[in-house]
């Protein structure tokens, strides 16, 4: 099966072509089925590959499948190769598994939308690009997948482009991602200049010979890759596109935020760890960015009124955790959290989408409330997802989050400051997600009268994926216990031991583990309890507390004014420059040159026009004159003797 791994890429491609070319002509309803089936088949192929991979001895679990020679020019010989190893297959399973459930959910959610075939064509394109990204065996293919993900997310976020703000949100995501793409491209160039090749196997195995440890070149490569990773994973300072990306349909939010796209940055750092480990500077920056993003966006999520925005900021925050993990060299913890996050964040988004769908597009928490009885599936889905997100004991998030916190404290490149930030975020997370939960499902109903009468309950096609993911969010953490504790470690070990020695832990790390676990559980419960007190028990407290610190509240509500800052620092100067160029430079200089050239030609030719009188006599005279001149010349020159 491993030599047929390219089928993983083929199915979404076929699905994309079907929906975009045939489906809209034949049968619009079939697009959803075909698209879901395509992703499902990829998942099956991924499972088959996994089982075969596990059958191989640990050190040969790397299949570098060269499909054809892609580019051959001079000393560049670039194969179109896909790399199948535990890391990429894990990503494939997450992308296609969660992606499949989201596709099924979307067949219900998007039912009756005029752009139904277009939606599923783009969804399949998105999955295709993401699979290309994770299966790529060289940096160029990685960049292709990277760009493809950026494009299809742009098209999906701006799916309802009839509203200008949706189109603007798509553009914003595209611009931010393009900044990252530039970083990725420059990194690939640097790799090529220094290694003369671009395939992972060659680059990683030669990294320690061709680059100096912590030298400027390797740091530059890592930081450029990091630009790409921060843009795609919406980390500081390139995070602003992600909350705006909520403008897209909710399945898109689930697909982008849970299974794909945003995890690409974490995957990239894990994949390129042989390079990153040669640059402690870059690793330190990654960890710092991760911890800061986690804390920063968790505080924003505390006060957001829009249910999807709360989840969006929570995604940034959780990705911050993953960055922190890979930044301190604990790749397995990062990847583990990536997987569990895919489960519980997908279910949170789907449940939120169910609520929004039922309320006819209402996303504001202050116009929800008391929906527990009306939407039981969504209620339980959101509850389990929220518990997992908050790290409630024995849910999925509990195991993976604790691994990261322990790593932050006990890795050799970690520090207590990073660990303390991670702990603080646990409490904030418990609070903000349960604030959203209580506001949406508990308390008095604040749903508007006319909406309440037309509430449409989601059907089985939306309910079933939510149920599956609810179960996964509850038990996903036990993936790490398949066949004894540390299953993830054993599974991914061959990848992270192949080209580099793992980052060691400080002494006494084991002793830290249990106290930290206890502490983080207590903090999580504290956050949940506070939310319960403020939004269920004494609902008036929320307003009171907000009133105590009006400045802080406004600061958080307006997301630290980051958007305004970028608008002021970048957008406004660029617009002003554009206006200056169009008002002053263009008419004077550009038009002057262009119109001046035209005017010169016209004047010259109108002078020549006078010669063409239309009288035969004039022409004959001119011919005679010419003949005489030629004759005189020949006589003078002695040409005729």
């Amino acid at each position: 099966m491993l030599s047929y791994a390219w089928l993983i890429l083929l199915f979404p491609l076929v699905g994309f072509l079907y929906s975009s070319l045939l489906g809209r002509l034949l049968d619009r309803r079939s697009c959803g089925v075909v698209a879901s089936l395509a992703v499902g088949l990829s998942f099956v192929v991924g499972l088959l590959c996994l089982s075969e991979l596990q059958g191989l001895p640990a050190e040969s679990r790397f299949v570098d499948l060269t499909l054809w020679t892609w580019i051959a020019a001079g000393r560049l010989a670039l194969p179109f190769n896909i790399l199948i190893d535990p890391l990429s297959i894990l990503m494939v399973l997450v992308v296609t598994g969660v992606g499949f459930l989201i596709h099924v959910y979307a067949t219900g959610y998007m039912h009756g939308d005029p752009g139904y075939p277009r939606f599923f064509a783009l969804m399949n394109l998105f999955v295709l690009a993401m699979l290309m990204l994770v299966l790529a065996g060289n940096f160029v293919l990685l960049v292709v997948g990277w760009g493809g993900v950026g494009f299809s997310s742009y098209a999906l976020i701006a799916f309802w482009f009839q509203k200008p703000e949706n189109a603007a949100a798509g553009t914003k995501a595209f611009v931010m991602n393009s900044i990252g793409d530039v970083g990725m491209l420059l990194a690939a160039f640097l790799v090529f200049v220094n290694f003369g090749r671009l395939d992972y196997a060659g680059v990683f195995s030669q990294a320690s010979q061709k680059l100096t440890y912590n030298g400027p070149v390797v740091t530059a490569i890592c930081l450029l890759l990091l630009v790409g990773a921060t843009a795609k994973s919406a980390q500081l300072p390139l995070h602003t596109w992600l909350p705006d990306a909520m403008a897209g349909p909710t399945p898109v939010s689930a697909l982008i935020h849970a299974a794909t796209m945003v995890t690409a940055g974490v995957y990239l750092i894990a994949r390129a760890h042989p390079l990153f480990q040669m640059s402690p500077t870059a690793m330190g920056i990654i960890a710092a960015i991760g911890a800061l993003s986690a804390l920063f966006s968790a505080t924003i999520a505390l006060v957001q009124p829009n249910i999807k925005r709360v989840l969006a900021y929570s995604t940034i925050s959780q990705l911050g955790y993953m960055f922190l993990a890979v930044g301190v060299g604990s790749y397995v913890a990062g990847m583990f959290h990536l997987v569990t996050h895919a489960f519980f964040k997908a279910v949170l988004f789907m449940a939120a989408g169910g609520v929004i769908h039922a309320l006819g597009g209402e996303e504001n928490l202050s116009r929800m409330g008391g929906l527990r009885r009306a939407l039981p599936t969504m209620y339980w889905g959101f509850l389990l997802g929220a518990l997992a997100l908050a790290g409630f004991p024995l849910t999925a998030g509990f195991f993976s989050k604790d691994e990261i916190i322990v790593a932050a404290f006990s890795s050799e490149v970690g520090s207590p400051v990073l660990g303390a930030m991670a702990l603080l975020v646990v409490a904030l997370t418990g609070f903000y997600v349960f604030r959203a939960f209580f506001l949406a499902f508990h308390g008095e109903s604040r749903v508007e009268e006319h909406v309440r009468h037309h509430m449409h309950k989601p059907g089985a096609d939306m309910g079933a994926p939510v149920l599956v993911l609810t179960v996964l969010a509850a038990v996903g953490g036990y993936l790490n216990f398949l066949g004894g504790e540390g299953a993830m470690d054993r599974f991914l070990e061959p990848v992270f031991h192949r080209y580099a020695t793992p980052v060691p832990y400080i002494e006494g790390a084991e002793a830290l583990k249990e106290p930290l676990m206890l502490l983080s559980v207590c903090l999580g419960l504290l956050g949940i309890g506070t939310a319960w007190l403020m939004y269920v028990r004494y609902p008036r407290w929320a307003v009171t507390v907000g009133g105590w610190y009006p400045r802080v509240y406004r600061l958080l509500l307006n997301k630290y004014w980051i958007d305004e800052l970028y608008g002021w620092l970048i957008v406004r100067p660029v617009l002003a420059l554009g206006r200056f160029l169009s008002d002053a430079v263009d008419p004077a200089i550009t038009d002057g040159v262009v119109l001046g050239a035209a005017r010169t030609v016209r004047d010259f030719s109108s002078g020549l026009r006078a010669l063409q009188s239309g009288f035969v006599r004039d022409y004959a005279l001119a011919v005679l004159g010419g003949a005489v001149v030629v004759l005189i010349y020949l006589l003078q020159a002695g040409g005729v003797r």
Binding site: L608, R609, L611, Q612, S613, G614, F615, V616, R617, A620, L621, L624
Partner: protein
Amino acid sequence: MIAPVSHYLVLSGVIFTIGVLGVLVRKNPLIMFMSIELMLNSANLAFVALSYNFKNVDGQVIAFFVMTIAAAEVVVGLAIISSIFRIRVNIDVDEVSSLKG
């Protein structure tokens, strides 16, 4: 007794000049055509005379070519004149300037 070649060349030059003046001065296109014929045939005369003088047959060959081309030119020219005449009765060349730039 054959006249020297210079006589022929002088005669040819005179006829050619008459032809040129005819084209430039006369208004009637038919007369202008005759003048063009004069010029062409003066050239023919020069060709044949020089051919005889240098004992080289090339000039006579060219004279035949010129005659052929002259015949073709007359056909085209008369066709143009008759179509102009169809549109406007007056075919005075000074009145016809629709090719003015």
